[in-house]
Amino acid sequence: MLYINCPHCGLRSQNEFAYGGDATVKRPELNKEISDQEWDNFVYLRKSPRGKHLELWHHISGCRQWIKVERDTSTHEIFKTYKANEAIE
């Protein structure tokens, strides 16, 4: 079970969190004219790299904040965690 450092609450076990997928996706702005391809990329295309990946986790049984977690998908090593809108290094 992973041990995730919630930037709001500190180290908590994985069973307090829900996984939220790729955190590098950015939703297109509202009312913006975009191509079908751009929209499809946002809705359906997700990176699933082997190695370092920036992911969303929702501290669903804790502070209910969405956080970003930089994790190695093959070793589960967690390098850094960020608040929802913190700048990513």
């Binding site: 992973l2 041990y3 076990s13 939220g20 939703r27 509202l30 809705v43 809108n85």
Partner: protein
């Protein structure tokens, strides 16, 4: 029966307390502190089971977790417990165990015929035999394999025992209380670290219990007792026996199973049977020790052949002789310790040492004790069927290929020692890639992967002096990283006998003309010949060889067979062991009972049960409940002999004719607050929200980004910046997460907060033509006229002294109101509604009537909003704004979503007006068309229309808009029904929606 093999005054069992138990129905005696194995051996019993494949007799091979043979079935309080290792299970008064894998008895076993048919059971026999003809599989092969497979039989009855889970955190977890575990625990504890020391056996000390050593001028046992006593007295230390750390998971999470009352006579009222510990450790020291390796020779699976360290432990710990004419077969000095122990207890052993001329302290000691030693000698084959009676022994050439002077000597047990295999399982599970140590012919942990270090013999260190010193150092270093107290204790002096190198020899060649089975894996009956065959057939990867031959795949996970198997593959392939590599070690290290894994999460405890504040009223009034997610909701209120159908019809009819009340507490409720709340709702819902006035509610539909409907519900503007959102019962949690996602990540600039208020409000829906009259009596001071409280209006009022919120919303399609009060007043509200409503013929209605009402009104619910439909499909396209953007809007432009013949919501009525249409039926044009019959769509929900007194269904069918009036067929192959139907509007009742506005 007297305990013929019990030694006087030796061992650690409690001679004051005699314990009786039954094995295969026969009564035996042992002492408190005995295992089943030690007690049976004391009674001279060595035949305890039959092997998996050939049904060969099985005795005892080890003395602990490594035991491959003595798997028994335990009967306890009328419950069965299969897969019990006799070497681990302690006896208690009244214990009953029996052998497995034999019929009719362990002494006379029909299955033993397999032993004579063994040429038909080679490696991969399953793959080769059960291939053809395919039709044989279900009726003949599978039942046959199932009957033959497995050890023991699980009970199909509910397990009444209690199991618990515990979460624990510590600075340092130490897995094993042998010399290295004790030393490191002591050093770390003295340095202020929070330590957990786990020992899988009942007794602490590991090898110190049986080795003839001296630490700090004390015997191993004395030193152990002293250290354990001191550790137990320290507040920062938890010491646990009968506790096996069996799994090393991510981020230094380890799992340990503690056997709390497995060794006690009957269920202890306040003690669980077992407890599973989830331990998050900052650091781990793996001190799991090592397991003696067998030597491989002919019939080496005969009862009476066992590990020499096991024979020693039976003597020193349990005071039991495994035989009175022992043969010790060894390639290293460990066998001598066992021989000396036999000699001390008045038994004359013979040592066969594969080495030609070794010399060390212990060999000299054995010689001085006049123990007969034959150098360059091996056991060729054990003789005897149910117990060793003699052994063929021979001199072996220096190149270990030729056997000379084969002779038969009498013996009643053969104690083997092929040197030691470190237990690297936990280190390996942590991700530590092991490395091969040539000196000890075994793998040891390499670089630490997580926060783990391996110490003592688990790390391939076999001298006590080095072990103790290293363990004291590691205990200090690791704890000091955490505590920084620099409190170092001094390392005690160690006196031990010096050993010399072991012989790399491990497998005795077959003499000319003999074809003895030489076993590698004792539990799965994998012999040298099976591995040879697998390699001849082209299997190369060790992972493939393992799966093809089942080497190391039994419940003992190859603890005694693994390395010998690798050795054999490397010999045949002319490689060295590290080139072959080893198979993956996976948790659990030892079998864990399913009960322990499940813990308290059984039956009603498997998930929380949520009940509304009115639950006890429903119970008192004969409600029949249904699970709605984790909620319990009344499905119908039973009157007299009514069933579901009659009751729900009565309840629904009463809503249409008079007035009904339904508990709607379970609906999800979310408070949306903040100056940007309107803008936020405008982005979340498909329809317009910016102009909703205070005191009005609006129905809304929200989509996922892919355009699929996510949820629907009404949201009411309570005040300028405060909205009360409702969701469906099922989606409440998802909708909250969805809203939080957009507020926190996508539009953080919006000044809005959301919080769940589902638990805070109790809700009652009052529906039916009499509902306004009822409301007037409930709220005499409130103007509830159609003008005062119009459809979709909202008012706050006082309900007999309780503040209430009144929403004029309707799911039933009737004139209806929803009253919310704080949960604590829910019961009061409900009673008042029932009391006041009496004169208006009020009846409570359950979810079944609720469904009937919404279906015949054509209101969509979960069965239509099933994760596949867009607003158009559910006839909600009128709610999709063309002017503004919202979540999922861009997806609605996709060509498949704009196609005009999409499946769309319609009503379906059987032509005979009597046959109910099963939900899930397909709508087809021609019921006799060739299969697969092209389907137009499916029936999503069915009810008995109380308005028209005939069946009515909703369906989602292709080009539904243009199908109204068509005569089609509803087919349910599952129910074997084909029903002629007519397609009608989904709004079966009150299509203009006059009633809700009346």
């Amino acid at each position: 029966m007297p305990q013929d093999f019990r030694l006087d005054n030796v061992g650690m069992v409690n001679r004051e307390k005699k314990i009786s138990f039954k094995f295969n129905g026969k009564k035996y005696f042992g002492f408190e502190g005995d295992t089943i194995a030690s007690a049976l051996i004391a009674n001279g019993v060595h035949l305890v089971g039959r092997s998996f494949k050939y049904h060969r007799p099985r005795g005892f091979f080890g003395v602990g977790v490594d035991e491959p043979y003595a798997i028994l079935q335990l009967d306890r309080n009328n419950e069965r417990d299969p897969n019990i290792r006799a070497t681990e299970q302690e006896i208690f008064e009244g214990l009953e165990v029996k052998s497995v894998n034999c019929w009719p008895s362990v002494n006379f076993d029909i299955g033993a015929i397999n032993n004579f048919l063994k040429m038909f059971f080679p490696a991969g026999f399953y793959y080769k035999t059960f291939m053809w003809p395919p039709s044989f599989w279900y009726k003949i092969y599978e039942p046959f394999i199932r009957m033959a497979a497995g050890f023991g039989e699980a009970s199909i009855k509910h397990d009444k025992e209690r199991y618990e889970h515990k979460y624990e955190y510590c600075d340092l977890l130490i897995t094993g209380s042998g010399p290295s575990g004790l030393a490191s625990a002591y050093a770390a504890a003295k340095n202020g670290a929070r330590v957990i020391l786990a020992e899988d056996k009942p007794r602490f000390g590991g090898s110190l219990l049986t080795s003839d050593v001296n630490i700090g001028n004390q015997t191993g046992v004395e030193w152990t007792e002293k250290i354990i006593a001191e550790l137990k007295s320290m507040p920062n230390v938890t010491v646990k026996n009968r506790s096996q750390v069996f799994g090393y998971y991510d981020h230094n999470m380890l799992v340990m199973s503690e056997r709390i009352s497995d060794h006690l006579p009957k269920t202890q009222k306040y003690l669980p049977k077992q407890r599973l510990w989830y331990i998050r450790a900052n650091e781990v020291l793996i001190s799991s020790g090592s397991i003696e390796r067998p030597l491989v020779f002919g019939n080496n699976d005969t009862p009476g052949v066992m590990l020499s360290s096991a024979a020693k432990e039976y003597m020193k710990v349990y005071g039991v002789l495994v035989g009175k004419k022992p043969l010790i077969f060894t390639n290293n000095d460990s066998g001598y310790e066992t021989a000396i122990e036999f000699k001390k207890n008045g038994v004359n052993p013979i040592i066969l040492d594969t080495r030609s001329n070794p010399s060390s302290d212990i060999i000299t000691e054995a010689k001085n004790l006049n123990i007969e030693i034959k150098f360059s000698h091996v056991v060729v084959a054990a003789k005897g069927y149910k117990k060793v009676k003699s052994a063929d022994i021979a001199k072996i050439s220096d190149d270990k290929k030729e056997l000379f002077n084969i002779e038969n000597i009498e013996c009643d047990c053969i104690c083997v020692s092929g040197f030691w295999t470190p237990s690297i399982h936990l280190a390996s599970q942590s991700g530590n890639k092991s490395k091969f140590n040539e000196k000890i012919d075994a793998f040891v942990p390499d670089k630490s992967k997580q926060q783990e270090n391996t110490i003592g013999s688990a790390n391939g260190i076999f001298t006590l002096e080095e072990t103790i010193k290293d363990a004291f150092d590691k205990g200090f270093d690791v704890s000091n990283k955490i505590t920084e107290k620099n409190n170092k204790v001094s390392v005690p002096t160690v006196v031990e006998k010096k050993s010399t190198d072991h012989d790399k020899f491990w497998c005795v060649p077959l003499p000319k003309g003999k074809s003895y089975k030489r076993f590698l894996d004792f539990q799965n009956d994998v012999a040298v010949s099976d591995i040879e065959l697998a390699l001849r057939e082209g299997f190369r990867s060790i992972e493939h060889v393992k799966r093809y031959t089942t080497l190391g795949m039994a419940t003992d996970q190859g603890k005694t067979s693994n390395l010998n198997g690798l050795q054999l593959v490397s010999d045949i392939e002319n490689k060295v062991v590290p080139q072959v590599g080893h198979t993956t070690f996976r948790p659990p290290y030892t079998p864990v009972s399913i009960g322990a894994i499940v813990g308290r999460e059984v039956g009603k405890h498997s998930k929380p049960t949520r009940k509304s504040p009115m639950h006890s009223w429903h119970e008192k009034n004969n409600a029949v409940f249904v699970d709605a997610g984790v909620w319990l909701r009344p499905r119908y209120y039973k009157q007299g002999n009514e069933g579901l159908f009659e009751a729900s019809k009565r309840e629904a009819k009463n809503v249409r004719q008079n007035v009904g009340v339904c508990d709607v507490t379970t609906l999800g409720k979310i408070d949306v607050k903040g100056p940007d709340a309107a803008e936020f709702l405008n982005r979340v819902y498909t329809n317009a929200w910016l102009k909703l006035p205070v005191g009005k509610a609006r129905y809304g539909v929200m989509l996922r980004e892919d355009g699929i409907v996510m949820d629907d519900g009404t949201t009411t503007r309570i005040s300028e910046n405060h909205y009360h959102m409702t969701t469906t019962t099922a989606q409440a949690a998802n909708v909250l997460s969805h809203l939080e996602y957009y507020l926190q990540l996508v539009w953080p600039e919006l000044n809005v907060n959301v919080v769940s208020t589902t638990e805070q409000w109790a809700g009652a829906a009052i529906a039916g033509p009499n509902s306004r009259k009822l409301l007037m009596k409930l709220f005499p001071n409130l103007d509830v006229s159609n003008e005062g409280l119009p459809f979709m209006g909202y008012k706050e009022a006082d309900l007999f002294g309780v503040p209430a919120k009144i929403y004029r919303i309707s799911f039933s399609g009737e004139l209806a109101y929803e009253i919310n009060v704080e949960s604590d007043s829910g019961y009061f509200m409900w009673e008042k509604i029932m009391e006041v409503g009496k004169e208006f013929q009020i009846q409570p209605y359950g979810t079944e009537a609720l469904s009937t009402l919404r279906i015949e009104m054509g209101h969509v619910a979960g069965s239509e909003l099933d994760g596949r439909t867009i607003p158009y499909d559910a006839s909600l396209e009128g709610l999709v704004s063309k002017k503004k953007d919202f979540i999922g809007k861009r997806s609605l432009n996709r060509s498949a979503f704009t196609s005009t013949d999409r499946e769309k919501l319609v009503g379906v009525v059987p032509i005979d007006k009597t046959t109910s249409i099963p939900e899930g039926s397909y709508i087809v044009k021609d019921p006799k068309a060739k299969l697969p019959n092209p389907k137009l769509g499916h029936v999503s929900a069915s009810c008995w229309s109380v308005e028209y007194d005939n069946p009515f269904s909703l369906a989602i069918i292709k080009d539904g808009k243009n199908m109204i009036g068509q005569k089609l067929f509803a087919m349910s192959p599952l129910k074997n029904k084909t029903i002629p139907v007519e397609i009608v509007s989904s709004h079966y009742v009150d299509p203009e929606g006059k009633r809700v506005r009346s």
